[in-house]
C-alpha cells in the first residue's frame, strides 16, 4: 500500500510533467527571483502563475511543487457552492467569501513530490516570496536530472572455474536524463547490480563524512530463490530508484565523482569495492608488525582521515576502543570533549523527532488501511444491493416492488460511486503521507552524520592521549639517559625514534582535528538544510493531505445529498 504506484509512469506523458520537473539550482548561483524568467521549460508554469494572479482567491498560492491541475486555472473553482446550503447564504453578493470548492477539481495522481529534485541550499532567503514553500521553485534554473531504474535482467556470474553454471544475479538498467554539463550527454544508461550500489554507498560514506547521506536500500538476507522472484525484484527496483533520486536531490552529493561514475561509466563499475580498499591499505603491510608491537610508525595522516574499520585497522580500532572506554568511565578526562551543548541538544531532539516520525508513519499506515477498507466495504455493499435490485425487478409482481427496486438502484450506484471516491482519496493520501516514510530514511542519514562526528572526535581523542603517552615516555627516557654519564647511545637512539613518532603523530593529530572540524561544519550545514527542507516538506504534505480530504469529502457529500433528495418522500419522521 505504501509503495509507489506503477501507473505513475503513464502519467508522465502529460504536460504536467513539465510543471513537475525539477528546477534545480546549481551551487553558487545567485538566487533567482521567484518570478519567472523567460525559460522555455517554465512556460507551462508561467502560464499557470499568471492566470492565478487574477484568481479571486489570493489566499491560495500556487507553488509548482504541488502544481498539478489542483491549483491551476481558477476556472476550476466554482463560485456557486455545492448543493449544501450554508446558513448565511451562498450568494455572491454576500460579503462572506466562500471558500473554494474542491469537489470539482480533478484530482490526478501526481508523481511523488518527495522525489522531485527541487533543491534549496543554504542561502535561500527569499525577500518576498508570496511563494510559500522555500522548497520549490525560486530555484527556477533550467537544470534538471532525473533517474529511472528499470528492466531487471538475470545475468550469469562469469566464473573461471571448471564448474558449469555459476551463480546468477540481477542487473538493473539505470537511465539518467539530464542537462547538466558535467555529464557528457543528455540521456544515457548503464547496467548495475545491487553490489554496485553497496559499493557506491560505501565510497560516498567515506568521502562525505558528516553529511546526511540518504541510506541505501538494505541488503536482504534471503534465499537465492526469493531473490529471483518478481515481487522481490520489483521491490528492489523501486527502492533503488528512490535511493538514487534522493542522492541526486542532495545538493552536494549530486556533484560527487562517485555518483557521476556510477551513473555514466559503462561496463564494470570503476569504483573500489570495500575489499579492494582493504587490500590497498595493506601495502602499508610492512608497517604492520611494528604497529602490532606498538612501536614505530604512527597512524599515518591518510588513514586518520577515515574512521577505524575492521581488518586492517586492527590496532587503531583497539586503541580507539580503549580510549572510548576510558572516556565512558571518565578515567582520564579526554582532552577534547564534546562540549558543544548545542550539538548534544540537537542530537536529543533528532532522536525524539525520529521516534515521533516513526509513530506518525505507523498511524498513517493504519489510517490508510482504514480508508481502504471503508471504500471496499462500501463498494461490496453497493454490489449486494445491485444484485437485490436485479432480483426484485425480475420477480416483481407489485408496483411497490418496482418502486423499491428503483430506490435500491439509486442507492446502490451511489454506494459504488462513494466507494470509488474513497479509493481514489486513499491512493492520494498514500502519496502525501509517504513523506513521513521518506523522512524515516533521512533521519537515519542524520544519525550517520552524527556518528561520523563522534568517530572523528574519538580519533582526535585517541591521538591526543597517544601523544601524551608518547611524550611521557620520551621524558622518562631522557631523564634516564641524562643520568648516564657520557650519554647512553642506545637510549639516545630510542629517544630520537620516539621523537620521530611523536612528530608523525602530531601531524596526524592536526589532520584529525581539521577533519573533525570539517565534519562539524558539514553536520551543521546539513542539519540546517534538513530542518528547512523538512519543515517545507511537512507543510506541503499537510496541505496536500488536507486539500485531498476536502475535495473528496465534498464529492462524497454530493453523491449522498442527491440520494437523500431522491428519497425525501420517505421518512416523514425526523431522524
Amino acid at each position: 500500500m505504501m509503495g509507489s504506484e506503477n501507473d505513475d509512469e503513464s502519467h508522465l506523458h502529460s504536460s504536467k510533467e513539465d510543471m513537475e520537473n525539477l528546477f534545480l539550482r546549481e551551487d553558487g548561483d545567485p538566487l533567482t527571483r521567484s518570478h519567472v524568467n523567460g525559460d522555455k521549460s517554465n512556460s507551462n508554469y508561467r502560464s499557470a502563475m499568471s492566470t492565478l494572479s487574477d484568481s479571486r482567491h489570493p489566499s491560495i498560492v500556487v507553488t509548482p511543487a504541488d502544481s498539478d491541475p489542483l491549483f491551476a486555472p481558477p476556472s476550476y473553482y466554482r463560485e456557486s457552492r455545492s448543493p449544501r446550503s450554508k446558513p448565511n447564504g451562498g450568494d455572491r453578493g454576500s460579503s462572506y467569501l466562500e471558500p473554494p470548492s474542491y469537489a470539482d477539481v480533478i484530482f490526478s495522481p501526481f508523481d511523488d513530490i518527495s522525489e522531485i529534485n527541487g533543491s534549496e541550499d543554504g542561502g535561500s532567503r527569499h525577500s518576498q516570496s508570496s511563494d510559500s514553500l522555500s522548497r520549490s521553485p525560486s530555484s527556477l534554473s533550467s537544470d534538471y536530472i532525473k533517474i529511472t531504474v528499470s528492466n531487471p535482467q538475470k545475468e550469469q556470474e562469469a566464473t573461471n572455474s571448471m564448474i558449469p553454471g555459476g551463480s546468477t544475479y540481477i542487473t538493473y538498467q539505470i537511465t539518467t536524463r539530464t542537462n547538466l554539463s558535467e555529464y557528457g550527454g543528455s540521456e544515457f544508461s548503464v547496467r548495475r547490480r545491487f553490489r554496485d550500489i553497496v559499493t557506491l554507498a560505501d565510497r560516498l560514506a567515506e568521502s562525505y563524512r558528516g553529511f546526511c547521506i540518504p541510506p541505501r536500500p538494505d541488503k536482504s538476507v534471503v534465499e537465492s530463490q526469493v531473490m529471483q522472484k518478481q515481487e522481490f525484484v520489483e521491490q528492489r527496483r523501486v527502492a533503488l530508484e528512490k535511493y538514487l533520486r534522493r542522492l541526486v536531490a542532495h545538493p552536494v552529493i549530486r556533484n560527487s565523482d562517485e555518483l557521476k561514475v556510477f551513473l555514466q561509466a559503462q561496463g564494470k563499475l570503476p569504483l573500489a569495492t570495500s575489499t579492494d580498499v582493504a587490500s590497498r591499505m595493506l601495502d602499508g603491510a610492512v608497517k604492520l608488525p611494528k604497529q602490532l608491537f606498538g612501536e614505530g610508525g604512527g597512524a599515518s595522516s591518510v588513514e586518520v582521515v577515515q574512521p577505524a574499520r575492521g581488518g586492517r585497522d586492527f590496532l587503531r580500532l583497539f586503541k580507539e576502543l580503549r580510549q572510548s572506554v576510558s572516556n565512558d568511565w571518565g578515567g582520564s578526562k579526554p582532552p577534547v570533549v564534546e562540549e558543544d551543548k548545542e550539538f548534544l541538544e540537537k542530537k536529543e531532539k533528532m532522536y525524539d523527532l525520529e521516534q515521533q516520525i516513526i509513530n506518525a508513519s505507523q498511524q498513517a499506515e493504519s489510517l490508510v488501511k482504514a480508508q481502504q477498507d471503508m471504500g471496499e466495504t462500501m463498494g461490496e455493499m453497493g454490489l449486494a444491493f445491485i444484485k437485490l435490485t436485479k432480483f426484485e425487478n425480475e420477480e416483481a409482481v407489485f408496483n411497490s416492488q418496482r418502486a423499491r427496486a428503483n430506490d435500491m438502484k439509486n442507492f446502490a450506484t451511489s454506494a459504488v460511486k462513494a466507494s470509488r471516491f474513497y479509493r481514489e482519496l486513499n491512493s492520494q493520501t498514500v502519496k502525501h503521507l509517504d513523506t513521513l516514510h521518506d523522512y524515516l530514511g533521512l533521519m537515519m542519514a542524520v544519525q550517520g552524520a552524527f556518528a561520523d562526528r563522534s568517530s572523528a572526535l574519538l580519533t582526535v581523542q585517541t591521538l591526543l592521549s597517544e601523544l601524551s603517552s608518547l611524550g611521557a615516555r620520551a621524558e622518562k627516557l631522557e631523564a634516564a639517559s641524562s643520568k648516564v654519564f657520557g650519554g647512553d647511545k642506545s637510549r639516545i637512539k630510542k629517544i630520537e625514534e620516539l621523537k620521530e613518532t611523536i612528530k608523525v603523530t602530531e601531524d596526524s593529530k592536526n589532520v584529525a582535528i581539521r577533519e573533525y572540524e570539517q565534519i562539524k561544519e558539514n553536520n551543521w550545514c546539513e542539519v540546517e538544510r534538513l530542518d528547512r527542507e523538512r519543515r517545507a516538506d511537512f507543510l506541503n504534505m499537510m496541505k496536500g493531505f488536507v486539500v485531498n480530504q476536502v475535495g473528496y469529502a465534498e464529492k462524497i457529500a454530493n453523491v449522498w445529498t442527491k440520494v437523500a433528495e431522491e428519497t425525501s418522500q420517505y421518512g416523514r419522521e425526523s431522524s
Binding site: A370, K387, R404, R534, M542, E554, T561, A564, T567
Partner: protein, 403 residues
Amino acid sequence: MESTTEQPRNISGSMQSPRSPSSQPYLSVSVTDPVKLGNGVQAYISYRVITKTNLPEYQGPEKIVIRRYSDFVWLRDRLFEKYKGIFIPPLPEKSAVEKFRFSAEFIEMRRAALDIFVNRIALHPELQQSEDLRTFLQADEETMDRFRFQETGIFKKPADLMQMFRDVQSKVSDAVLGKEKPVEETTADYEKLKHYIFELENHLAEAQKHAYRLVKRHRELGQSLLDFGKAIKLLGACEGEPTGKAFSDLGTKSELLSIKLQKEAQQVLMNFEEPLKDYVRYVQSIKATIAERGTAFKQHCELAETTKLKEINLDKLMLTRSDKVGEAEIEYREIKAESEEATRRFERIVKRMEEEIVRFQEQKTEEMGVAFHQFAKGQARLANSVADAWRSLLPKLEASAAV
C-alpha cells in the same frame, strides 16, 4: 378460539401521525425504560409498556405494565398459532453472546425493535383485535407470568396433543393410501412466491452482512483518525514553528472527526443495518407462514380424501343394508365436518396471505425508503463535516507556509 371475522376498524396507532381526534379509535403503544433486574445468570431486562387507547375493549385510556422479552415471545407464539396466514411481525433475536447481552447498544436496539413489533401488531387490522394482545398489554405481571409459564411449560396443552396426534394420523393414512411424497400446492403463482421468498432471504442476508461490516469500518476509521491525530500532535511538539502549530491543529481536527465517525457508526447501525436485519426476520416469518400453509394444505387434502373414502364406504354399507350404517353415517358426518373445517382453514390462510403480501411489499418499500434516506442523510452530513473541518485548516496552513 378465533374471533369471528369482523370488519376491521380503522384504528390509528403511534406509528402514524398523531392527528386523530379523540373520537376516532386509536391504539398506541410504546416500549420504554429498559431496566436490568435480577442477579447473575438469572438477570434480565424488563421494559415498560405503555398503552394509550380509547377502545372499549381496553381497561381505560392508559395502562402501564412491565414486560420482559419472553412475554413478547409468548405474544408472538400465540398470534402465530391463532392467525395462520398472517405474517406475524418478527422479534429481535435472543442474544447468544453473554457479554453483549447487557451492553447499552444492544439494549437500545432491542427496545426499539420490540417497540416496532408491538406497534405493527397494534396497526394490523386483524391482529389488533386479538385477545392475547389485550392480555399482553393489560394483564398484571403475575397473570402474565402464569400465561407465559403455561406456554413454555413441560406439559403441553391439550390442543397441542391433538395436533401431534393428527400429525401421526396423517402419516399413517399416507402409508395406508400408498402415498409417499408429501402433498404440496403446485399452482404457478404460489410456486413463484415461494421461490421469491427463499431467494430474497439470501440476497437480504448478504446485504445486511455488508451493512454490518460497514458499521465496523466506520468505527475503525474513527479509531485510526484518533490515533493518527495523537501521533501528529506529538510530532508537532517536536518541531518548531510553524510546522509545530500546523501539526497540532491537524491532529486536533483529526481527533474531532474521529468522534463524528463513531457517532455515524452508531447511526448506521440503528437506522440502516437494523432495518435490514428486520427485513430478513420478516422474510423468515413469512417462511414460517408458508410452512403453516403447507401443513394446512396437507390436512385439507388428506381429510378430503378420507371423507371421500368414508362416503364410498357408507354408500356400500347402505346398499347392503348393513346395520353398521348408522355408525358409519355418524363417522362420515364427523369427518366431513372436519374436512370442511380444514378446507376453510386452508382457504383462510390463502386469502390472508394474498392480502399480507400486498401489505408486506408496500410496507417494505416504505421502510427501505426511510432507511436509504436516513443513510444518505447521515453520510452526507458526515462528509460535509469532514470537508468543513479540513477546510478550516487551509488558511492557517497557507499562512504558515508563507512564513
